[in-house]
């Protein structure tokens, strides 16, 4: 169920930049110069609480605009699965900065990227009693872009993600001497992320 849902959303988000690009092709010959759209698939790697490494897949969709030479400001949404077996994932609204170190006319470009995000959704799919409290995320990375045609590049990005998620678990009673009224689980996820995608 989780895999199907993830695949569906991944395809939707990857397709979205293509759709938006087709709407704008007639307007800008070099769309990248003033603005960009990006759809990315990410793979995160980290070590889980009780030991053992794990992979955290996710995807992101972003749009941005050049604010001065080589510097772009953008925003978007990111979805990351952190603990798939418990259905623990994070959806964040984020704001990002990209600093490009080569002119856009070059076939190969490089950039540094950093984003800050706030949680807007997340769920423990197997725990109907839990309620979600928005968290936040911080990310920093380096990206390389390879021109495919005048307006399209493929990109590869490597970075480090920290994401905080919080859940209020209202499980009643855990023994004779305790009457639980509230339990807030605060997760701190740390991942090294490899991302690939299309950049317009």
């Amino acid at each position: 169920m989780t895999k199907l849902s993830f695949g569906y959303h991944f395809l939707l988000f990857i397709a979205l930049p293509f759709f938006l690009r087709s709407q704008n092709e007639g307007i800008a010959s070099s769309y990248e110069k003033r603005a960009y759209l990006a759809g990315q698939f990410s793979i995160g790697y980290g070590f889980y609480l009780n030991g053992g490494d794990l992979i955290s897949p996710g995807f992101e969709f972003k749009a941005g605009k050049s604010i001065r030479n080589n510097l772009s400001l953008g925003g978007g949404v990111a979805y990351t699965q952190f603990k798939p077996l418990d259905g623990l994932y994070g959806i964040s609204l984020l704001s990002e900065l990209r600093y490009f170190v080569r002119d856009e006319s070059k076939n190969w470009r490089f950039s540094g990227v950093a984003d800050l995000g706030v949680g807007i959704g997340g769920s423990r799919l197997q725990s109907g009693w839990a309620t979600y409290n928005p968290g936040h995320r911080v990310y920093a990375g380096l990206a390389v872009y390879r021109k495919m045609d005048a307006n399209t590049r493929i990109m590869l990005e490597l970075g480090y993600l920290y994401q905080y998620l919080s859940y209020q678990d209202n499980t009643p009673g855990r023994g004779w001497q305790i009457f639980q009224t509230e339990s807030i689980l605060k997760y701190h996820f740390r991942r090294i992320q490899l991302k690939t995608g299309i950049f317009f």
Partner: protein
């Protein structure tokens, strides 16, 4: 080195901020518990516990601390006259000027003839449940709730560190209603009482036991029997040679032809809920309510035909808001509905009680009631204190006085 860095930078962490109600054991040394009980000057009412009417006196239990003695000769102007400090007190009853009260595990008998100079005249030790004993700390007499917030790693079971104490047995806070008792100089308790008097005997219920105490006029008191009557017993109510015992799963009717050893006549079972019970001899009225302590999900009044004491039959159930204490008096049924106040019904048609609502007052929270039949006065306890009404005109009550408790100021 690289592996270490990866582990520290990429390792997830999780903390569980755990807020819960912890029950801390309360120990009391026997010599402290059994210090002679006396009265002191009157004190402010902090929390309203059970109430009891004896003559012109209104006795108000301050849970776990003692009993306020109030001169209620003029219900419009009640006067606090003394406070009897009784550790661990929650129930009381009076007969012939002697006050019988629980003090954690003991039953104490106090001379109440001069309420400003109360004297302990007798004590029956170890008759109520104890949770255990510690050589150094003394008797384990109660568990007190304490709200606690602690932070644990998510991988730890937050509850484990609290399983090292004694087994919990929560002292229940019971509620009550009232009816005039026909036995001379005894007083009147509410429907949520756990103590009641009948013909020279005191009957008490704990969560599982019914005990009978033989009372002498000089204060000598002897426990003559105790028997298991089930689980989650809440209230006891007397009427003409019968004891009605309310539990969370049913109503028990005991006969006291042999007053030293009540005999079970019948049981009327219901779904799990808290249930004070009163009766006029032919009909029993039982209120069922839900709640954390009560565990059930019902909020209703059950009307039960008890003309055949060995075969009680349900006449009808009525849905109510959150009924607690109640009282039946000359065909008038008083029901405390918690935050929805008090209701008065005419019971002339037991199949249409809900159609015969005479009076309702939602302006205060009502928990239990004692009705003084001759004076037509209703004394009602609630979360915020005590209210006294004159109900000579049943459809238009007159508020006589209010005693506010400090807890809910």
């Amino acid at each position: 080195m690289l592996s270490f860095s990866l582990n520290s930078c990429l390792k997830d962490t999780c903390e569980n901020v755990f807020t819960y109600q912890r029950y801390d054991p309360v120990f009391i040394k026997p010599e402290v518990l059994r210090q002679k009980i006396t009265a002191s000057t009157s004190k402010e009412l902090i929390t309203t516990g059970k109430i009891y009417v004896y003559g012109d006196y209104l006795l108000i239990n301050e849970p776990d601390l003692g009993i306020h003695v109030v001169d209620n000769k003029i219900p419009a102007n009640p006067r606090f006259i003394s406070f009897i400090k009784i550790p661990g007190n929650s129930d009381l009853a009076v007969r012939n000027g002697l006050l019988y009260a629980d003090s954690y595990i003991d039953l104490v008998v106090l001379d109440l003839k001069n309420p400003q100079d109360v004297k302990e005249v007798f004590r029956v030790e170890n008759v109520f449940p104890t949770y255990g004993k510690d050589e150094k700390l003394g008797l384990l007499v109660a568990y007190k709730p304490a709200g606690v917030t602690e932070t644990f790693p998510c991988s730890e079971n937050a509850g484990n560190s609290f399983f090292d104490g004694n087994v919990i047995w929560s002292r229940e806070s019971s509620l009550t209603s009232g009816l005039k008792t026909p036995f001379g100089t005894v007083g009147i308790g509410g429907s949520t009482a756990r103590f009641t008097m009948n013909q020279g005997f005191l009957y008490t219920v704990t969560t599982s036991n019914l005990s009978a105490f033989k009372l002498e006029d000089n204060g000598l008191t002897k426990q003559v029997s105790t028997q298991n009557v089930g689980w989650n017993i809440e209230t006891i109510y007397p009427f003409e040679g019968l004891l009605f015992i309310g539990s969370q799963t049913g109503m028990y009717i005991y006969g006291i032809e042999n007053p030293e050893k009540p005999a079970l006549l019948s049981t009327f079972e219901h779904w799990r809920a808290c249930d004070p019970v009163v009766s006029d001899g032919k009909t029993a009225f039982v209120t069922l309510r839900d709640g954390t302590e009560c565990e059930g999900f019902l909020n209703q009044l059950d009307v039960i035909n008890i003309s055949d004491l060995r075969n009680p039959k349900l006449i009808k159930s009525y849905t109510l808001h959150h009924p607690i204490g109640l009282s039946i008096n000359q065909g008038l049924l008083f029901i405390c509905e918690d935050d929805k106040g008090i209701k008065l019904y005419d019971t002339k048609d037991l199949n249409a009680i809900d159609k015969n609502l005479i009076y309702q007052d939602k302006s205060f929270s009502a928990v239990d009631i004692i009705v003084l039949e001759d004076a037509k006065i209703a004394i009602i306890t609630g979360e915020d204190g005590i209210w006294q009404f004159n109900y000579k005109n049943p459809s238009k009550w007159e508020l006589l006085s209010t005693i506010k408790s400090k807890t809910n100021d």
